[in-house]
């Protein structure tokens, strides 16, 4: 083999703490290396041209680039060597940035380590062979998990782009958190007026299949060919027939269960349509509070239903669907503020969450849009808002900023003044974070035009006095304590990962961060991709996000899906397992251990059982190669011989053994 080695400076990123010239010089002495040089930026256009030229001039048939992580630029350099006329798998990368220059300051030792990593890469490359990827068909359908505003946007954009969409939503209606909001900042436009039409579009779009009250049961397969099983939970109503007339809701005698859509501020009938704009507008029965389901008698809804759609015997239904891509848009949930002792832990009914306050403000809420406090239904004249409840607080393991609470608190202060002109709002804040377009002006309006009194400090105590709540906090700008007697206290509760996100992440092989938010592939350059090919992220499941950001990400994820599904075929990575039939004894252990079901047993022409790898299914994880007692399965480009050669390059044995492939 004739190998060329290129050591990248990466500006001063590598050259700052690694003597790149010395590494290149040392590389010239490695086996099969006929050319070695250092280059300012290997990934730049002149850098890549330099590699191509060297390949041609020195008649190279293998290339090693020592630079950053292969996650960054391996695809770049594979394309470079391909343009130079080589097989793109006759290429190896040594990571001397993340693994060397960024983590060590000692130039001498860094240079030694970099040289050794390059020696390993050369030894590995010497045993590489040209590989050709296989092609496979793509299923032109996308699964969107989560029907909040991000999922709705992703679904609509994918459908408009011509792809079939399956939208799965856990709740009875799509709409997510946005459907619960009254108005939206910074324009004070009605939330359901802007979201409603989009929800209707989802229901009416011929390319979108909607499953609500459904969850993803299991996922198998890989990019382009996922098999997804969806569990549609029993709703005890035949939605084919239900017209959403609501007669059953009026007659249902069991109506004491708290209403989750209204954030448990009021009760709802057991057979219910959560809100007037619900999509689909179909009734469902909660079996836990249904008298018929619990005691076996009642059935009033079945009697009153004009289309006879009640079915008390309905069971969960499993639906299987093949998709080529998956968009995860599972959103967020709210921090449980009861962890804080200083806000009463639920002892005071007039301490409520911001989302509960939204329901009080909403015309479709339990009070018909009139602000009435939960304890006695009185109109509050003094409202205290407390920000950062479960945000930026290490003591409750929520050190991050939830991002949009500053804005919705300003909005709620404005709306409070709109609803009750003789009211006074107080906002306890730590910092006001309003970096969006027209956001800071909006918070200033809350203070200047609507007279909200902003107090910079936190609240340490709430206690009742008469029918009011005394809120004691600090004003750090005045440097002292402040107290205010409030009729209502609204807690701007922070954002946390949606419940169930961890379980779903496991099914989709999408990794959550330490707080449960899904991790994107690259924080800047691949914000909606995940490290599992074909699975994309949208909205607050990736981190706290307001509506515009969620919508933007929904569209971004859709663009990624469309770019993927526009291809009829995809190439599979050929760095997969390969069976040496002569060695295989047909024990089938590899078949059992393969997590992807990529290995099957076949018979050779003598009728002996032999393992066979389905190349397009194999993900190259290597579990089979360590399982095989015969060493008959080898992972291409990660063969035992290659790994041993790398180890030998790193720590040469006293007696030289020839590990030539």
């Amino acid at each position: 083999m004739r190998i060329g080695v290129f050591i990248c400076h990466c500006g001063s990123n590598i050259a700052g703490t690694v003597d790149v010239r010395a590494v290149a010089q040392a590389a010239k002495g490695f086996a099969d290396v006929v050319y070695a040089s250092d280059t300012m930026y290997a990934c730049s256009e002149p850098g890549q041209e330099g590699i191509i030229q060297a390949v041609r001039e020195h008649n190279l048939d293998g290339v090693v680039v020592a630079s950053c992580t292969p996650r960054m630029h391996e695809p770049t350099f594979r394309r470079t060597v391909e343009r130079a006329g080589l097989n793109r798998y006759c290429f190896e990368m040594a990571n001397i940035r993340e693994h060397v220059s960024w983590i060590g300051k000692d130039t001498e030792r860094n240079t030694i380590k970099a040289t050794e990593l390059v020696r390993m890469a050369v030894e590995k490359l010497r045993r590489n062979r040209p590989l050709t990827p296989k092609r496979f068909d793509v299923t032109k359908r996308v699964l969107v998990v989560g029907g909040g505003v991000a999922g709705i946007q992703a679904a609509l954009d994918c459908a408009e782009g011509g792809q079939e969409v399956v939208l799965v939503e856990r709740e009875q209606s799509i709409g997510g958190k946005m459907a619960k909001l009254d108005k939206t900042f910074p324009t004070i436009d009605c939330s359901s007026c802007v979201l409603g039409p989009k929800m209707v579009d989802v229901a009416q779009h011929p390319k979108i299949t909607l499953h609500t009250m459904a969850e993803v049961e299991s996922v198998s397969g890989y990019v382009g060919n996922f098999q997804v099983t969806i569990r549609k939970k029993a709703r005890f109503v035949d939605w084919e027939k239900c017209t959403g007339c609501g007669l059953c809701m009026e007659k249902c005698p069991s109506r004491k269960a708290p209403d989750p859509f209204n954030e448990y501020l009021c009760t709802a009938p057991t057979i219910n349509i959560p809100f007037p704009q619900a999509i689909p507008k179909k009734a469902a029965i909660n079996p836990e509070t249904c008298i018929m389901k619990q005691k076996g008698k009642c059935g009033l809804c079945a009697k009153i239903c004009p289309v006879k759609c009640i079915d008390f015997d309905q069971q969960d239904e499993l639906v299987t669907v093949d998709v080529g891509a998956i968009v995860v848009a599972t959103g967020y949930d709210l921090f449980d503020w009861h962890k804080y002792p200083q806000y009463g832990q639920g002892r005071y009914p007039d301490v409520i969450t911001s989302l509960q306050y939204e329901r009080l403000l909403s015309a479709s809420g339990p009070t018909g849009g009139h602000i009435k406090r939960p304890s006695d239904g009185k109109e509050p004249k003094t409202v205290v808002f407390i920000q950062c409840v479960g945000s930026r607080d290490r003591s409750v393991d929520r050190p991050y900023c939830s991002g949009f609470c500053c804005m919705y608190t300003a909005k709620q202060a404005i709306l409070t003044k709109d609803h009750i002109p003789d009211s006074q709002s107080y906002v306890f804040y730590m910092d006001i974070r309003s970096p969006g377009k027209a956001y800071d002006e909006f918070t200033r309006r809350a203070m200047e035009e609507y007279g909200a009194q902003y107090v910079r400090g936190r609240v340490a105590m709430i206690y009742p006095k008469g029918d009011q709540l005394i809120v004691r906090g600090a004003d750090t700008l005045a440097g002292t304590q402040v107290e205010v007697a409030a009729d209502l206290v609204v807690l701007a509760v922070g954002v946390e990962a949606a419940r169930g996100a961890a379980v779903l992440g496991e099914k989709l092989r999408v990794v959550p961060d330490q707080y449960g938010f899904f991790v994107e592939s690259h924080p800047k350059l691949r914000p909606v991709e995940t490290n599992t090919a074909g699975v994309f992220l949208a909205g607050a499941c990736q981190g706290p996000k307001d509506i515009p950001a969620s919508v933007a990400q929904g569209s971004a994820a859709a663009a990624k899906v469309l770019a993927l599904l526009v291809k009829d075929q995809l190439e599979s990575d050929p760095q997969v397992s390969r069976v040496t039939p002569a060695r295989c004894v047909g024990c089938g252990k590899c078949v059992q251990t393969c997590p992807f079901g990529a290995i099957k047993l076949v018979e050779d022409r003598f009728g002996n059982p032999k393992a066979e790898v389905v190349e397009t299914v194999c993900q190259g994880c290597g579990i089979c190669t360590v399982t095989c007692p015969q060493g008959a399965i080898q992972l291409e480009h990660f063969t035992d011989n290659q790994i041993l050669a790398e180890v030998q390059a790193l720590c040469p044995p006293r007696i030289r053994v020839n590990y030539a492939s």
Binding site: R392, S395, R458, A460, T476
Partner: protein, 186 residues
């Protein structure tokens, strides 16, 4: 108002407070939760969060000459509420110790009372209330302080005329001796 020169922040002071309290004062982001819960704010010259800020700014003189560090009752409200898990009460404590070492006693009576208390404990192994009172009155000259409480306290037999010696009084005394020899922080 005094103008603080940011460039002359006394890094040694910040480091000493941090080392002796085992707290990282940099983690304070001035949310005000400590001040919000502090029951002594009404008598302080600088609120707790301001003391924290002045420490961050390395303003040794201002902190160690403040009244607040002497008036802190160590009730731990600040420590309990701190979202960054800073033991603020401990920092107040450390500042009081440092002020004493430098001979500052902005709240003279608080210092004198603490001294009287410690003398009483050293001598009797526990506080002897009447002796403590006499000691404090002699040192402070405040004859009439809390005199109105005396009839009630006497009637309830909370002010015995004889000290109650405890078992192991000598051991308590040795603690004081060890402290004087050991050069431990006051």
């Amino acid at each position: 108002m005094r103008i603080y020169d940011l460039a002359t922040a006394e890094q040694d002071f910040i480091a000493e407070v941090a080392a002796r309290s085992h707290q990282d004062v940099r983690t304070c982001y001035q949310c005000g939760n400590c001040t919000a819960g502090c029951p002594y704010t009404f008598v302080y010259d600088y609120s707790v969060s301001q003391i924290m800020r002045l420490i961050q700014l390395g303003q040794q003189e201002t902190v160690l000459r403040s009244k607040s560090i002497w008036l802190c009752g160590s009730c731990q409200s600040c420590t309990t509420r701190c979202p960054n898990r800073i033991d603020v009460a401990k920092i107040m404590d450390v500042c009081r110790h440092m002020a004493r070492e430098r001979g500052y006693a902005t709240e003279r009576e608080v210092k004198l009372f603490a001294d009287s208390f410690l003398r009483s404990v050293e001598r009797h192994g526990r506080a002897f209330e009447l002796g403590l009172m006499v000691d404090y009155v002699l040192h402070s000259g405040k004859v009439f302080t809390d005199l109105d409480l005396a009839p009630t306290a006497l009637a309830r037999r909370k002010l015995p005329f004889q000290p109650h010696p405890i078992v192991g009084r000598d051991q308590v005394e040795r603690i004081f001796q060890r402290f004087r020899q050991g050069g431990a922080h006051a």
